[in-house]
């Protein structure tokens, strides 16, 4: 049908790669299972840079369900590339093994982490990816890892609170924090639009260059 560009969100890691190896269309990964979510990663970086400037030397905590989070992985790649110190923080059951080898610090105590960070990205608890018992109850999760007024009061004065939508109000973040003046959640939404426009533009342009180029293209990922 002459589709020049596809945006793919899929429950299976690697599904957009699989399609890109079989189609002439450009493929934009809009989240593949628990693997990556590149545009969310980029919009989170953009929002943090707007607030903090250069991220080199800054400390960013990713809090919550790291194991099932594609946002966490894309954040880790971008943040470490820009020189930030990344702390992943969540229940031990939701921290995958050997994640420290991606260049991050691991903590299971949000209370210990909170005073040290410039930015906190509160990942949504992925109820749909939960298989079996990763934590006892939502009540206990909110008690240990929820961002609330009391934790916010022990953070730096200029701490930036991010959360990739949608959010579970009262679970990973209380409404007081989500709607408070440290929250940049609505900036993330606006920046998401800009980042995705840019991604579509760049990808489409690249696709046109490739289709008009006579030489075979070396797809290094294959």
């Amino acid at each position: 049908m002459g589709v020049s560009l596809m945006v793919v969100r899929h429950k299976t890691p690697g599904a957009p790669l699989f399609l890109s190896q079989r189609l002439d269309s450009a493929v934009l990964n809009a989240g593949d299972g628990t693997h990556e979510h590149p545009t969310q990663g980029l919009l989170d970086l953009m929002t943090m840079r707007e607030q903090c400037g250069d991220l080199s030397g800054k400390t960013v905590a990713l809090v919550g369900d790291i194991r099932h989070s594609r946002v966490a992985r894309s954040n880790i790649w971008g943040l470490t590339k820009l020189g930030a110190h990344v702390i992943v923080c969540g229940p031990a059951t939701l921290i995958p093994p050997r994640i420290e080898e991606l260049g991050v610090e691991v903590s299971c105590s949000l209370d210990e982490v909170i005073p040290r960070v410039d930015c906190v990205n509160l990942l949504r608890i992925q109820f749909e990816r939960q298989r079996g018992a990763f934590f006892p109850s939502i009540h206990e999760y909110a008690h240990l890892f929820g961002m609330n007024a009391s934790r916010l009061s022990r953070a730096r004065e200029d701490v930036v609170i991010l959360a990739p939508g949608p959010i579970n109000r009262g679970v990973e973040i209380t409404p007081f924090v989500a709607d408070g003046n440290h929250s940049v959640i609505l900036d993330q939404v606006s920046n998401g639009l800009a980042v995705r426009m840019a991604a579509l533009y760049l990808l489409h342009r690249r696709q046109q260059e490739l289709s008009s180029s006579p030489a075979p293209v070396d797809m290094k990922l294959i």
Partner: protein, 425 residues
């Protein structure tokens, strides 16, 4: 029946220790003479520079008939087996319906006879419908030709069922071939749990799922005096547990696949399903332990774990496609490349794991190359380098991690019952 003379090959029979360049004369389906032969034969095969071995045995092949003939039939699977050098294969009961009745076992034998390729030994189900609940009619299955019992890739999760199964099959002096894996630890998993599963966000299959089950199985085998064969060992710790159990006299044998000697979890970084196998590819350290286990004899047998699937079942998302790769037509070149060319195993050591060892486990008469024995013989030319080309496979399954790799050796001839059933181009 035509007499056949295989001349000037390196004749290796691991059972007797024979290893010499000589000739083999076959008459009326049996080996008549090994040594210099003056008489003329109807057919002469020049085996100079080649290996003349007992017919190879693959004790762990899934044929998909009945039920999934689009993936493989007994005809196509046995044809692939011949091309891979095998004169005998044992086939898994994981068909639809499964081989959990005498009639089903006899159907496999009937279809194999009709195909007229290699010998096929049915493996019967341990439990009805491979469901792990009630024992199948094991005595009936033995009478129908089943040589061993297995629930294929379904682990027998209940320790009670496994205990009774080991006791019951011991009565018939038949082994249980078990896939050692704790199901709940790998539920939904796609690859080894480690750095790469974290990197890729892939649902994991921890090594502990295997080592815990091996420990349970060894304990039950010791307690019941049942015969246990552990299939597809992938962890270093698993090899070590089997080694220690052997030392204290547990009746246990084990196998590995060639692909687990070549590939590691990191290969799945490409998201290519040709690296999706169960048990999963693990780490460099595990691979080294598997090699060590092959060298010191802890691992008795090499099997292909041939898992054929039709094209439409392999061209899909990683979580949708089933586990498994084909292996019948790549096992010998893979073993030569990985084990012989590197000096890890000698030819007699390698061939023992492909002939007399599986024959002993399945209590077959074959697996031996000696005078007056049935002339099941495989002639291997170890010299050529061959690029693995799945489209040319006889198997209907084409997914293999060895695709496009250059491996050493090819099958020159396969004789079954004194008849040349395969000759390589």
């Amino acid at each position: 029946m035509k007499s056949i003379l295989i001349k000037n090959g390196r004749v290796i029979d691991p059972a007797s220790g024979r290893d010499e360049v000589t000739s083999v004369l076959i008459r009326d389906g049996f080996v008549a003479t090994i040594g210099s032969v003056d008489t003329q034969a109807d057919v002469e095969i020049d085996a100079s520079e080649m290996i003349v071995a007992p017919g190879l045995i693959d004790m762990r092949v899934s044929l998909r008939e009945p039920g999934n003939e689009e993936d493989e039939t007994i005809e196509s699977g046995t044809s692939a087996a011949l091309a891979g050098g095998f004169s005998t294969i044992a086939c898994m009961p994981d068909t639809e319906p499964p081989v959990d009745t005498r009639a089903a076992a006899e159907f496999v034998i009937l279809q194999a006879d009709r195909a007229g390729n290699c010998r096929v030994v049915p493996i019967g189900a341990v439990t009805k419908q491979l469901a792990g609940q009630e024992l199948a009619e094991i005595g009936q299955l033995v009478d129908g030709g089943a040589r061993a019992f297995s629930d294929a890739k379904q682990p027998i999760a209940s320790a009670e069922v496994m205990r009774r199964a080991l006791e019951y099959t011991a009565m018939m002096k038949r082994p249980i071939l078990h896939h050692p894996q704790v199901p709940e630890l790998v539920a939904g998993g796609l690859m080894h749990e480690g750095y790469y599963s974290t990197l890729m966000g892939m649902p994991p299959m921890p090594a502990a799922a295997e080592t815990i089950m091996i420990h349970r199985d060894l304990t039950l085998a010791e307690m019941t005096s049942g015969r246990l064969h552990l299939m597809g060992i992938s962890t270093g710790e698993g090899v070590e547990q089997i080694r220690r159990a052997r030392e204290r006299g547990v009746q246990v044998t084990a196998d590995v696949t060639p692909h687990h000697l070549f590939f590691r979890d990191e290969h799945l970084q490409t998201f290519h399903s040709k690296y999706k196998v169960n048990p999963p590819f693990r780490t460099e350290a595990d691979t080294e332990c598997l090699i060590e286990g092959l060298k010191d004899g802890t691992i008795d047998v090499i099997t292909s774990d041939h898992q054929p699937y039709a094209e439409e079942k392999i061209t899909c998302e990683l979580d949708q496609t089933p586990f498994g790769v084909v292996g019948l037509e790549t096992l010998v070149p893979a073993c030569i490349t990985r084990l012989i060319n590197t000096g890890i195993l000698s030819w007699p050591e390698l061939l023992a794991k492909l002939t007399v060892h599986p024959a002993r486990i399945l209590e077959l008469d074959s697996g031996v190359l000696d005078v007056d024995r049935v002339a099941d013989i495989t002639v291997i030319d170890p010299r050529p380098t061959v690029k693995i080309s799945p489209p040319s496979f006889r198997s209907k399954g084409r997914r293999t991690p060895f695709a496009d790799m250059e491996l050493s050796g090819k099958i020159a001839h396969v004789l079954v019952g004194g008849e040349v059933r395969y000759s390589g181009a």
